[in-house]
Symmetry: C2
Subunit: 200 residues, 2 copies
Amino acid sequence: TLDVALYDHLINPEILEVLPKTCEKIYVGKTKGKHSKKQEEINELIVSYAKSGKIVGRLKAGHPFIYGRGAEEVEAITQEGINVEVVEGLSSAISAPTIAGIPLTIREKKDSILIVSAHLKNKRINLDWIENLKKENLRIIVLMGLSRAKHIQKKALEIGIDPKKEVALINSLNKQIIKTTLENLEEKAKKIEKPAVIVF
Amino acid sequence: TLDVALYDHLINPEILEVLPKTCEKIYVGKTKGKHSKKQEEINELIVSYAKSGKIVGRLKAGHPFIYGRGAEEVEAITQEGINVEVVEGLSSAISAPTIAGIPLTIREKKDSILIVSAHLKNKRINLDWIENLKKENLRIIVLMGLSRAKHIQKKALEIGIDPKKEVALINSLNKQIIKTTLENLEEKAKKIEKPAVIVF
């Protein structure tokens, strides 16, 4: 059982309630605009608690190995000779379309899946994947794209993607689902709560 | 609770044991070379049981919406006016690399994920994705690729991919993990049990 739990923003409170009463709970979330711990500080915290003989849990929002910086945390910890076990849950990249009834593959129609983030390091916008919208047989899942919906729509229309192309916006936490078309993406993106997944 | 359960090949026996004793269990798996039910027959079975007033469970091996033909089953059933609920589990596309300690994304190194199948309809081999191996920042997950390892290796080398490129073979059911390089892919593929995922 855990001695210490370092938890993110967006961790379901029900998970925290399941932790043993003796477990020290430390919030290390990154909320926009608010003071929070840097990645290096989180890594140091994990290492120092583990070195003091404690069993440390790191409760991450989102799949730890999909844009979760879990790889960096695992690396920092194992470099110090500390054992790590990764326990994964469902990733919204797959569960969001599933909740919305959108198959990730469809025989003879959609035969591959591309998962991208519209947000990369230092808040850099990523639209390198946009050309892939031309591939009809590709299901594209865009993470962290909600605040970039305007740019995604603009760029996609610029390169000649059909304005009527189907797109869905899905928040898998509160099960909010909006099915729309490319030409309405920016407008509809204002009507769904973060974090949401965009599915083409 | 379920009245009838139609289950696939590779369903964990522990799942069948959890079903109520009154639940009728019907094997509809597709095993190579053995007589088994066709997709159309499965759809008809689901519909006819549901129409007779029974609650039908369809236990699928693999994520229902990722190369699982779940989309077709859902469509066939809803067309008959029957309600469907999809309950997903972890997909080996994501859990296999996670089990092997291979992050799907790595900040500044791997920023997108492509999931493909080396096998398409009518046993057709799919190598259309091979050119993507040139993209260093792309994590590529190949499903149903084990028996095509020879062709994948040959074609990848032909288009100039580094023979030393890292590749992993992972069976997430029995936790078998082989980390190797492209030039040894074919040989190592013989040493792992099906079903396995190939990760570049």
